[in-house]
């Protein structure tokens, strides 16, 4: 009675669920493993489907029999009067037969598994995938000399929570988005800079971990030009969900152009060009940057009305961005953050969270500008825990922009933006200390208060007020930096 009602409900629910499933499922999503675009992912998906077919076969047979058994041997009215079912204790022949059948079915999976393990663990030497990469012949740049027939190498570095991609043969470093030539085997060396990460680019290849202290590698190949999405697949701390990356698979010609463009480095702001002289009739981008750098020191007022130059000066100077970031050729050579050369050519920011790609693949410049402003001025909201704005009062190594915010605060400056003594008392500052503060209004607050107290006292201030009294950048200055970053293309 109850059972039949359950059955009826199930029968009614099933078509509903099935239709939901069919309409709700797309197997070509951004990170679908079922839509392979390269030989490694193809092998892995093929193997997956073999396991699916074998398991489905078993499921239909075993499940079917199970349903039949449960229906056929259910207790029927009147059974209670009959003798109990025959007491059998098993049948060795059936057991052995079923074990043998299971082993045979597993062999169907095991053989292609072994094949695929070898294929994915060794650089391919056979047709169809391997053609000598011809790096030396198809790429005409100087860097490639002596690299003939060697496979293109990319060193992928995992950081909490972003990616750095270096091309050691080409002298290129990029971050969070990298480029590979279509139909070429690429060897990716996987190195972690802190905890364990995992490199997963589902449509191109399954994952391999970046294991600190170990030299893992994998090979990949893209067989279709396009923009592919990947992300870190090993839990790596607070913002693990925000450690995304992207890969452009390009036709060879496009890749060559990309490399040449990247190697030229960033252009100095305002199209600044160093003067040719007889020692260097053809100045390099680096010369331009050095000339620009000298000019900012000697003649800063020249740049007064140009947001890009203003931004560049903030980047190199007050904003301290160069402590962590590199822009190739420029004086910015920090190694702790993403390389920002050509950052404006990337289709996303902050390891893939802030996207500014149009549906046609081009870059939406307005959106990009917004993203730059949002990311540099509010990075702690976009990606909690990131060290560009590392705000953990429990530790001494607070880094990046947070230091700007509290640097140079004094009693007098706080008073000028309306912080009264009551705020100090509320933060647990005792009277004696407060008296000392009043006596020394121009002395830095760090001489008297703990870091936590300074934060408490100033917690009511807006970013704008901070920019008036500390080294924190004003909204206008953040906009300049964003404008400069957007010029890096």
């Amino acid at each position: 009675m109850l059972l039949s009602r359950i059955q009826q409900t199930l029968f009614r629910l099933f078509p509903l669920l099935l239709s939901l499933f069919v309409t709700g499922c797309s197997f070509t999503g951004r990170q679908s493993t079922l839509d392979p675009k390269g030989p490694v992912a193809q092998m892995q998906t093929d193997l997956f489907w073999i396991t699916v077919w074998v398991c489905s076969g078993i499921f239909i047979v075993v499940g079917g029999i199970l349903v039949w058994v449960v229906i056929r041997f259910r207790e029927k009215p009147g059974d209670a009067d009959k003798p109990y079912p025959k007491h059998g204790h098993g049948n060795p022949l059936i057991e052995i037969g079923l074990i043998a059948a299971s082993v045979l079915l597993l062999v169907i999976i095991a053989v292609p598994t072994l094949k695929a393990i070898w294929a994915t663990h060794e650089l391919p030497v056979d047709e169809p995938y391997y053609e000598p990469s011809k790096l030396g012949t198809w790429f005409k740049g100087d860097m490639a000399e002596g690299e003939e027939d060697n496979v293109l190498v990319i060193d992928a570095y995992g950081w909490q929570w972003w990616w750095s991609f270096e091309y050691p043969q080409l002298g290129i470093t990029t971050a969070n988005e990298f480029v590979i030539p279509k139909d070429k085997v690429v060897k990716v060396n996987l190195r972690s800079m802190d905890v364990i990460h995992s490199f997963w680019l589902p449509k191109i290849a399954g994952k391999v971990d970046l294991m600190p202290g170990r030299k893992n590698w994998m090979w990949i190949m893209g067989e279709e030009a396009g923009h592919f999405y990947g992300q870190c697949a090993e839990f790596c701390g607070e913002a693990h969900a925000y450690m995304l990356f992207r890969c452009d698979v390009m036709e060879e010609d496009d890749f060559e152009k990309w490399v040449a463009d990247y190697q030229a480095g960033a252009v100095a702001p305002s199209g600044f060009h160093a003067q040719a002289d007889k020692d260097k009739p053809d100045p390099t981008a680096r010369d331009d940057w050095m000339a620009w750098s000298n000019e900012t020191r000697t003649n800063p007022e020249v740049f007064a009305n140009d947001p890009v130059s203003q931004g560049a000066m903030l980047f190199m100077g007050k904003g301290q961005c160069i402590v962590c970031h590199t822009i190739d050729n420029s004086i910015a050579q920090g190694k702790l953050g993403p390389n920002l050369t050509k950052v404006a050519n990337r289709k996303s920011l902050a390891a893939g969270i802030l996207d500014h790609q149009n549906p046609d693949g081009s870059i939406n410049r307005e959106k990009q500008y917004e993203n730059f402003v949002q990311w540099i001025s509010h990075s702690q909201h976009v990606k909690p825990g990131n060290i560009m704005y590392y705000d953990n009062p429990a530790e001494d190594n607070n880094a990046g922009l947070i230091n700007l915010k509290y640097a140079g605060l004094t009693y007098a400056k706080l008073k000028s933006v309306g912080v009264e003594n009551s705020a100090y008392i509320a933060s647990g500052v005792d009277d004696a200390t407060l008296k000392e503060l009043e006596a020394n209004p121009e002395s830095g607050l760090t001489n008297f208060l703990s870091e936590r107290q300074i934060r408490e006292v100033s917690s009511g201030l807006t970013d704008d007020q901070f920019s008036q009294i500390s080294n924190w950048l004003s909204p206008e200055e953040f906009a300049y930096v964003a404008a400069f970053l957007q010029s890096l293309k």
């Binding site: 359950i6 197997f27 058994v69 259910r74 025959k86 399954g206």
Partner: protein
């Protein structure tokens, strides 16, 4: 019937109260709280294990629902990234160590001595020690929530500035993320809590091995043991071989964090990969530690309600042992993506496929048990059949993972989450709930509400599949696990929402089952007979609830399923005549509780030491001294004990001619 059952009255003979050399007297026959705190009765200990397990199931369930609520829509900000990480860390740790394992332990404790015809477990006080040590470890782990709450509302004032008080390194605790450079004192709570829980598990496992080997009633040969008892034995062996690995790993991690050793510090030449080998050498057998007891329960339920013995008993037992054995040879399949190299990858791939064979054998034999039977769809039977179905699905996705290259796409994706929840909920939890419905009439002499039972089984099954089947799809389309949110545009929104709805249905179903359980326990109306299922094994020969001394007279076993043979076959149970002084009962003891308190103090103050609280290290030493003192006094507190002579009202009942059905008792 032997003469023992004709004893006219219950006579209790007190032995003279003997003080030990230290002047200690052991308590006995107290009522109320002191009785529960000092009891050495395996049945009461089992009930306390069960109560703790159900409580922590609810805690872990709330954590799960927080996770699912956060993931219901993309870029949700219901909880922060850090809190989310704490939620999934504590959800996994709680469900495994504080939910499933103690619920299994509850059944081990209550059922195994009854199934083998024993008076108690081999070491009753060690059994109590396991319980209180378990409670201590569980408290250490979960008290971090209290500390975090206190910190959030500002009870610690201005100077304590830690924000990561609850463990957030995942239940797997991979170094170097769990090293001191990356996580705070949450990891200390986690290390200490798990270490203490390990002590509890090891003590319990040794106890059950000795009990099952030594305490069987006459004639209860190994190949006549009920399958549940067999699986308890295998599980206990798995525990004593697997837990030392995680004990070592946790100790090394603790040394790294507290004393500056370099086991896992990469910059000092440490090897994080070592953690993974040690952890999974424990972690994979742990999966079987979780699932084998449930398999044992199902192997009891299916024959009972098919009215037919288990098909291929020897091979079911043997395959259980083989699963346990091969379970130690497949740990690296959790590490296919860590760069094992092709040889190791291939070897672990093939071994993982191999373990599917004994698992398949069990399924075939369960079907063989059903075949030709007379299947009555009681609530436990529904859970048993649900187990077979759902576990089969989880097994299939397991085979899919065993193909290492395919696993490279599935590892750490929601496909894996789907897989192990099919094993752990579809398998283990359904099995354990089946066990609850099956044995509660024995434990309390009362019947849970069966109509509600059918409804909730249906709700749990639907909710579970709605929650976890879509995760296969999510994983295959690239959604990684342990991510606190996901961006728009990946096509994961719809099925995450469906999954969340399913999770809430599942949660409601389980909650109602638990409420009904509590109502049943408190109710005075739902009484049932001693053998309401017309079951097969020895525990059903006893009155319900089971008297404190278990068997008035030790039965002599002459067949597998001896109670069934006694009722319906031609092998009536005989009983060994009792001693003239009656049954010897042990006195109770405070010492195991003292040890538990010592562990609690030790664990919390070690974590405090990690947080830099002054003098916490000395308190931790004090905690350890308390443990040692408890064990020392325990050895010296003297034998105690008293004699008891059961009367006829407590002797084994003669079989009822007509088996009573569950419906009749509602």
């Amino acid at each position: 019937m032997s003469a023992v059952h004709a004893e006219p009255v219950t006579v209790k003979t007190e032995l003279p109260k003997t003080r030990s050399e230290l002047g200690l007297i052991r308590p006995d026959r107290k009522t109320g709280l002191a009785d529960w705190l000092t009891t050495v009765d395996h049945k009461k200990i089992g009930i306390m294990y069960g109560a703790a397990a159900l409580f922590f199931f609810l805690v872990g369930g709330v954590e799960a629902l927080m996770i699912r609520t956060q993931l219901a829509v993309s870029q949700n900000d219901f909880i922060s990234a850090q809190l989310y990480n704490q939620m999934f860390t504590m959800h996994g740790t709680t469900m495994i160590f504080l939910g499933v394992m103690p619920l299994s332990a509850a059944f081990f404790n209550f059922i195994v001595p009854l199934q083998i015809g024993a008076r108690d477990v081999a070491f009753p006080r060690l059994n109590t020690f396991s319980l209180w040590t378990f409670i201590a470890g569980a408290t250490v782990l979960n008290i971090s929530w209290l500390f975090q709450f206190a910190h959030t509302v500002g009870w610690f004032g201005q100077d304590l500035v830690r924000t990561d008080i609850v463990p957030a390194g995942g239940w797997f605790g991979y170094a170097p993320l769990t090293s001191d450079g990356y996580t705070g004192i949450g990891t200390d709570f986690w290390i200490l809590g798990l270490q203490i829980l390990g002590v509890a598990s090891l003590a319990a496992a040794f106890n059950f091995i000795v009990t099952i080997i030594n305490m069987r009633a006459p004639g209860m040969t190994m190949m006549r043991l009920p399958v549940f008892t067999w699986m308890t034995l295998v599980t206990s062996f798995l525990i004593i071989f697997a837990f030392p690995a995680i004990t070592i790993a946790l100790a090394e991690l603790m040394f790294d964090r507290y004393f500056g050793t370099n086991f896992f510090r990469v910059d000092m030449g440490g090897q994080p990969i070592l953690w993974q080998h040690l952890f999974w050498f424990f972690g994979h057998p742990e999966v079987y530690i979780l699932v084998l007891p449930a398999m044992g329960i199902v192997s009891e339920i299916l024959p009972t309600f098919s009215r037919k013995p288990l098909f291929g008993y020897p091979i079911v037992v043997f395959s259980g042992a083989v699963i346990g054995f091969i379970g130690f040879a497949v740990w690296s399949h959790h590490m296919f993506t860590t760069g094992l190299g092709k040889i190791a990858t291939a070897a672990f791939s093939l071994l993982t496929m191999a373990i599917a064979v004994p698992t398949g054998v069990k399924i075939f034999n369960w079907m063989g048990t059903l075949w030709g039977g007379r299947i009555s769809f009681t609530v436990p039977m529904c859970y048993g059949l649900g187990f077979v179905w759902m576990f089969m699905l989880g097994g299939f996705s397991g085979v899919m993972h065993s193909a290492a290259p395919a696993d490279a796409q599935q590892q750490d994706s929601y496909f894996v989450v789907a897989h192990f929840h099919y094993v752990l909920i579809g398998g283990v939890l359904l099995g354990l709930l089946g066990g609850l419905y099956y044995w509660i009439p024995k434990i309390y002499g009362k019947m849970m509400n069966q109509k509600l039972g059918y409804g909730m089984f249906f709700l749990i099954l639907v909710g579970f599949n709605l929650a976890f089947f879509p995760m296969h799809y999510l994983g295959l389309t690239g959604m990684p696990r342990r991510t606190h949110t996901y961006l728009v545009g990946y096509g994961w929104d719809l099925w995450n929402l469906v999954s969340t709805i399913g999770a809430f249905l599942l949660g409601i179903g389980i909650l109602i089952v638990f409420i009904d359980l509590v109502v049943t326990v408190l109710s005075k109306k739902r009484k049932c007979s001693a053998d309401p299922w017309d079951a097969r094994t020895l525990e059903w020969s006893l009155p319900s609830p089971v008297p404190s001394y278990n068997f008035a007279a030790t039965p002599v076993v002459s067949a597998r399923d001896c109670w069934w043979e006694h009722k319906h076959g031609d092998e009536p149970l005989e009983y060994v005549p009792g001693d003239s002084h009656g049954i010897h009962m042990p006195s109770q003891s405070w010492m195991p509780l003292i040890c538990g308190v010592g562990f609690l103090v030790f664990g919390i103050s070690m974590a405090m030491m990690g947080a830099g609280v002054p003098h916490a290290g000395y308190v931790a030493i004090g905690g350890l001294v308390t443990v040692v003192l408890g064990i020392y006094l325990w050895a010296l507190e003297g034998p105690g004990g008293y004699h008891i002579k059961p009367g006829p009202e407590n002797s084994p009942k003669a079989p009822t001619p007509q088996p009573e059905h569950a419906e009749a008792n509602v």
